[in-house]
């Protein structure tokens, strides 16, 4: 056993050494190019179809539509800038009141039906079942195989690069020997 007191590690130095080691592994090809980016991209692919879209905006727009879907003949104004125009408009309104109300009733029924359809579509979109978990699982499996294939390609590329470097070194050494 040594009587030398053990050196107290400086944590900043340790971190600096770790960084240097990572750089060295990248330079030497021990870590394939794009290793970290590939891992990050992989996770992004996984979460992309698991994130829940924000339906707040859609709900707000449906609520706004709902507010406007109240049709009333009383809100059709009868003002006019021409002399006697307002009286004329009121007279026309009175004469055509039955037809106007008939049209408004039809539009109201259509709007009510449309509102129900939109609410149904929105609820369906928000329903997690809409995600089709079975398809997600199959997609995961395909992505997993693709990632494995990508890793093999990267590894093969690194191996070829290492071989090429060795051949070049051998050629240089053999040339200098001649």
């Amino acid at each position: 056993m040594s009587d030398e007191p053990e050196a107290v590690p400086d944590l900043d130095d340790v971190v600096a050494r770790l960084k240097a080691r990572v750089e060295e592994r990248r330079r030497s090809g021990a870590y394939p190019p794009g290793l970290e980016q590939g891992l990050e991209d992989h996770f992004r692919r996984i979460v992309a179809h698991r994130a829940t879209p924000d339906f707040t905006g859609l709900r707000a727009r449906i609520a706004a539509l709902d507010e406007r879907a109240r049709f009333d003949a009383g809100t059709i104004h009868a003002q006019s800038r021409r002399p006697g125009g307002e009286a004329l408009h009121r007279a026309v309104r009175k004469v055509t009141a039955r037809q106007t109300q008939g049209v408004l009733d039809q539009v109201q029924r259509y709007a009510d039906a449309m509102r129900d359809v939109l609410a149904g579509v929105a609820a369906s979109l928000e329903d997690p079942v809409h995600v089709h978990a079975d398809l997600v699982e199959q997609l995961d499996a395909v992505l997993e195989r693709l990632a494995a294939a990508e890793r093999r390609t990267v590894a093969a590329e690194a191996a070829v690069a290492a071989l090429v470097a060795r051949v070049e070194r051998l050629e240089a050494s053999s040339a200098s020997a001649r």
Binding site: A51, L143, E144
Partner: protein, 365 residues
Amino acid sequence: MTARRFSQVLVSASPGDAVTNEALALRPALRRLGDSDIFARYYDASLAGDVLPLEEYERRAPAGAPGAADDVLVVHGSIGEAAVASFLAGRPERLVLRYHNISPAPPFRPYDAAFAALLDGGRTELAALRPRVALALGDSAYNAADLEDMGYQDVRVSPLVVDPAGLCGLEPDPATAQHLATEVEGPVLLYVGQLLPHKRPDLLVQAFHVLVTYLDPDARLILVGPSRLPAFGNAIQHLVHELSLPGAWVAGPVTPEALAAFYRRADAFVTASEHEGFCVPVLEAMAFDVPVAARAAGALPETAGDAALLLPLDGGPALLAEAMHTVLHDQALRRELVGRGRGRVRHFSPERSTDTLVGHLAGLA
């Protein structure tokens, strides 16, 4: 003004939760100053009796009762809740805001827009509460600065009342301990915390992939803690499967006794979190003599001090993997971190933190 009552208010209380633990630890000291109970909008049934429903407060202390305005409400801030904000708005007591940090909403938005809105709402509610707050206390300088960003002034720092050594005294869960002793071989890296986007368990798994592929094929990674966002927890599981990492285990939520078993088996504690208001698990690991490697995020450098291997936030999975390897195998570094960790645990002794906090509150008595 003489306060007779020092009550604590939480949005939610659950066993093992750091905020609930602090409220429970603080109560005996507050009872030396006056009447003191804990009230919560939501609480786990197992805490009934220890924690009272918020509605009960009004019955016990009517807002119009003489002297009510002299009493003190210690409000633990960690998430938004409209009912609590509305309750506080109608109360005459002096308010002490005990701030534990509110997680940033953006990482949650893609997974749970409603929860993200609660987090955003929490910040809005705290900002609105500011004119009513007589004393603001952050449990770390990082959290105090966060409050100041919301417009608070003269925010004091008073460390979280936490007893990590208490976990060491628990008898480890026998089944978990047996499983870990017989089924888990190789050096074990442990993460304890919620599986949430800002805690970056994805980065931990990526780093572990680099570790076992290039540096240490025998290493194990165990992730302990609940996932509030099922979609995110599910994505972490898939990442583990797709990277073919049989040495990684997403263990989920566990009892305190099982947690003690995990800490006892761990060779190192790791976290890649990018947002921490305090980070109790780091102190727990230190209490179990487990060396820590982490990213220098939020309040983590304050909590860990010089007792953890802290990495820059811009370091990726490769740097984290290198740190995992070093903290597992560099014996001199491990010894040093363990020794410093013990000092850190002493520094955050619950008695000292309680005295500091009560000292601040006593100034209002």
